[in-house]
């Protein structure tokens, strides 16, 4: 299995109205690990779907190139048509052909490859059994539920044994409960097929749960690529920090020599320094610091903070706290607090963005 390489990939949809300027995708370079599962994460309109459609061959890059192993798939001059790429795609709308039965839908890629008869039947049956839809083979897609339809679409990908599977927000139309089940199906699919998978989503929990790597995009630019745990612990910059996980970003004066991983004494000093407005501990330039809610604990030896809100979420309460200087923090707590009370908290760690 070869590697997929995006090389300074750029897509400009041409002159738009004033204020809209800037290319949809700008200078995206990325090498996918073999048989990896990459989640492409970003707010809507960030260019992630355009990247996916360029990989599929539906859009031509205006600059840069896409390579698959030795083979150049796309550049500004030539595009290998999608039908010659051996890729498969799962759409948000499922894209099942309403005039074909479930089995015909699943078997269509084989039919195009001139596979028929017993070979066709057995491979379609195998794919359908993997998504647990054998009993539905002769139904029309319209007789299926949303989750079943998405499984048919997945079986259609599976049967083709594609090199790369592209998934464009495949769970966006499903309810919360089904999503969890489908995530499981995707994971199994990935392990079984050995294909490289690229998964576009704006839901970071989904991205974290599924992917071996997460790539964050914003305004057409690729901001960071890293395994989920890394990107959660060490995001680069404000945008990634605010997109991945929950947390608050506070601005603090930190000494120049401080590293990026910050501990409580340092944070305490910075917060105290800021309160006095000048002087000792809080020297240095202003930095953005990401503080995760699970890093903020109530502790009698901590710094007093005012509870702005306390929302019961079932397993715990989510608190919004005001720092002495007015900036706000998020925290989790097993116990509810009254709005407006001053409670001492300790911040066990922070990450300088």
């Amino acid at each position: 299995m070869a590697q997929l390489i995006l090389n300074h990939l750029t897509k400009d949809f041409g002159a738009k109205g004033p204020g809209e300027g800037g290319p949809a995708v700008s200078d995206v370079s990325l090498t996918l690990r073999k048989q990896g599962f990459l989640a492409l994460l970003g707010p809507s309109g960030c260019g992630k779907t355009t990247v996916l459609r360029m990989i599929a061959g539906f859009e031509q890059p205006t600059d840069g190139s896409i390579e698959f192993g030795e083979c150049r798939l796309s550049d500004a001059v030539r595009v290998l048509p999608p039908e010659k790429r051996n890729m498969a795609m799962v759409f948000q709308s499922y894209a099942l052909w309403p005039h074909m039965t479930v089995a015909e839908n699943v078997g269509y890629p084989l039919k195009v490859r001139r596979i028929s008869g017993e070979a066709w039947r057995s491979r379609v049956a195998e794919a359908l059994s993997l998504v647990r839809l054998t009993a539905y083979a002769d139904r029309r897609p319209s007789a299926l539920s949303g989750g079943q339809r998405q499984r048919v679409a997945l079986a259609r990908c599976l049967v083709q044994q594609p090199d790369i599977v592209l998934l464009d927000e495949p769970l966006a139309n499903l309810d919360q409960h089904l999503r969890k089940a489908m995530e499981e199906t995707f994971r199994a699919f990935h392990e079984r097929s050995g294909a490289t998978m690229i998964y576009v989503t704006h839901d970071q929990a989904e991205a974290m749960a599924l992917a071996t790597d997460v790539a964050v995009m914003s305004e057409g630019k690729l901001l960071q690529v890293a395994p989920p745990a890394d990107i959660y612990a060490r995001p680069e910059g404000r945008v990634v920090g605010s997109l991945i996980g929950r947390g608050a970003i506070v601005r603090l004066r930190l000494p120049e020599k401080a590293g990026r991983q910050l501990d409580w004494p340092l944070l305490q000093a910075a917060l105290a320094g800021r309160r006095s407005g000048h002087g000792h501990a809080g020297e240095g330039p202003l930095s953005d610091v990401l503080i995760r809610p699970e890093q903020v604990h109530p502790d009698s030896g901590g710094m007093p903070m005012r509870v702005l809100s306390s929302v019961f979420e079932g397993e715990r309460s989510a608190l919004t706290l005001a720092l002495p200087d007015g900036q706000s923090l998020k925290a989790y707590s097993n116990k509810a607090f009254c709005h407006g009370t001053e409670v001492p908290f300790v911040i066990s760690g922070g990450w300088r963005l």
Partner: protein, 559 residues
């Protein structure tokens, strides 16, 4: 899709078809018009008194017709779109009928309904004394029938216009304390204004170009309009005829262009002629007034649709002109004549069926790739193609016919044969004229299709023709069926284009009805017309049955 999708030959094929069907005849028309003006001889037609009279008659009749269309069409549109009356679908279907019935049949039916020789009035004992004038043979009569014929256009325009405004606006106004009448005056009417202007404009230009109604009503009273003047000039073929009719056609074309520009401006590119958008649900409950309003609408329909058609049926059942219809005189002889004995009507029937089927199927072959291309590809080329496809449909039929005469009177290059005087020139003109009719359902099906359906097929490995066959065609099949039926319906009834292009042996149904009436065989003309109306209603009912498989907006009478 930015053009990565389709093969290169597709654009070439569509451009070639548009060039042959649209650009070439238009160039010839413009060129002949210019040459006619330049030579001076043909330009003198502009100064003739007959031209002035025809121009005046055309404008007066079209303007009068427009006013009637606006009043009737707006009444029906507002009531159907905004109130809770019952039987909206039936009402819309019946109200759309006059647009689908060929104008010369409408005219014939009204003539048979009124005047001293009406079998219906005679049977009822209401006929005026023999020798008293037929009141419809007048400019007012022409205007009245133009108004009836084109009221559905106004109806569609207003309904489509109202559908684009959500009813929330109306409800908000009600909550602000406005009475229903205030809401109508302050909210609905201003919002519907562009649609009213557009509907009026399209009714006006349709009136300018109408040939069937002034031909039946005007010629006996020596009232010429521009289309009938062209027809008359063409019948008395002279040395400067080509130049003169080109100049006259240019006048009609420029009046139409002015109307079209006004309509485009009011609508900003929205189309309603064949697309009736989803109507807003009832915003006003009529309460006790409802029964009165329903009576008014159905009464109007009875007067303008049912009564003339009954008169038509009555006069098709009498054995000869002037005989009253009684149980003793009733006979089916006229039907026997037109269906089995008269070679003229049989040839016409055969020709019209051939022309209509060939146009419907032939256009589908062009409209499928064109619809795919125009739906997939946006931008300047696609816009230009769409406009070029639209022009021949928007042009009055008489102008289009003249353009085709000018383009194809000379022998074709390479093969050296002229198609002028054969049935093929009529077919070519039909292909040009109805391209837009054929394209619309197919294109809206392509536009409403989820693009991922085709994209998945591509990724599955299917090339262009393969996915056309396996995925796209099955999905647009219902729309393609509707397109075939719509074109067949319109082409089978066509009169204006064929009136100029026919010659011995290539007459169409429209021409046959016109000629039978012209030669005094009104019972035969009526019988043929009744058959035509029956076929029209039958085909419309077929479409209605197909309706649930069709993309939204393909059937004009559905909400």
């Amino acid at each position: 899709m930015s053009g990565v999708g389709e093969p290169a030959w597709l654009l070439a094929f569509v451009c070639g078809a548009v060039f042959l069907l649209s650009v070439l005849p238009l160039i010839h028309l413009g060129w002949a018009g210019l040459k006619g003006l330049e030579g001076g001889e043909a330009a003198s037609v502009l100064l003739e008194a007959a031209t002035f009279a025809a121009l005046r008659n055309t404008l007066v009749a079209a303007a009068g017709g427009m006013v009637i269309s606006l009043v009737v069409g707006a009444l029906f549109a507002f009531v159907v779109a905004l109130t809770d009356i019952r039987g909206k679908l039936a009402l819309s279907f019946a109200f759309m009928l006059p647009m689908m019935i060929p104008p010369q049949v409408t005219a014939l039916a009204w003539v048979e309904m009124s005047g001293p020789s009406s079998p219906l009035l005679k049977t009822l004992g209401l006929a005026p004394p023999l020798g008293s004038p037929q009141p419809l043979y007048s400019l007012a009569g022409i205007a009245l029938l133009l108004g009836v014929q084109h009221a559905p256009l106004v109806f569609l325009a207003i309904k489509a216009g109202l559908a684009t405004h959500p009813r929330d606006g109306v409800e908000a106004a009600r909550l602000s304390g406005a009475s229903p009448w205030r809401v109508f005056r302050d909210i609905v009417l201003p919002l519907a204004c562009p649609a009213l202007i557009a509907g009026g404009a399209i009714a006006f230009i349709s009136g300018i170009g109408n040939f069937g109604i002034p031909a039946i009503l005007g010629i006996p009273a020596s009232i010429e309009t521009l289309p009938t003047l062209i027809f008359a000039k063409f019948a008395s073929f002279g040395s400067s005829t080509f130049g003169e009719i080109a100049v006259l056609s240019t006048i009609i074309a420029s009046i139409s262009a002015g109307g079209l520009l006004l309509q485009q401006r009011a609508l900003k590119g929205r189309d309603y002629r064949l697309i009736g958008l989803t109507g807003a649900r009832a915003a006003f409950t009529l309460g006790r007034l409802r029964i009165a309003v329903e009576t008014l609408l159905w009464g109007t329909l009875a007067l303008v649709l049912v009564a003339p058609l009954l008169a038509l049926v009555a006069s098709s059942l009498v054995p000869a002109y002037g005989v009253p219809l009684t149980l003793h005189t009733v006979s089916l002889q006229a039907y026997g004549e037109v269906l089995f004995r008269q070679t003229v009507t049989l040839t016409a029937l055969k020709n019209s069926v051939f022309l209509a089927s060939a146009a419907a199927v032939g256009l589908l072959v062009i409209a499928l790739p064109a619809g795919y291309l125009l739906a997939a590809r946006r931008g300047r080329v696609a816009n230009l193609l769409a406009i070029l496809i639209e022009i021949p449909y928007a042009l009055p039929g008489i102008v289009l016919a003249v353009a085709f005469i000018l383009a194809f009177a000379a022998p074709l290059p390479v093969i050296g044969v002229s198609i002028y005087g054969t049935i093929w020139i009529i077919l070519a003109a039909y292909l040009s004229s109805f391209f837009a009719v054929s394209l619309k359902p197919v294109m809206s099906a392509f536009l409403q299709m989820d693009p991922s359906l085709e994209e998945t097929a591509r990724l599955a490995g299917a090339g262009f023709l393969r996915r056309m066959r396996d995925v796209l065609l099955p999905l647009v099949a219902p729309a393609a069926g509707a397109s075939v039926i719509l074109v067949f319906l319109i082409a089978a009834n066509e009169l204006t284009v064929s009136a100029l292009l026919w010659s011995a042996g290539t007459q169409t149904l429209g021409v046959a009805i016109f000629n039978l009436d012209d030669s005094g065989s009104s019972n035969l003309a009526s019988a043929l017309s009744v058959l035509v109306v029956a076929v029209v209603i039958g085909l419309m009912a077929t479409l209605e049955v197909l309706a649930k498989y069709l993309p939204e907006g393909v059937l004009p009478w559905r909400n």
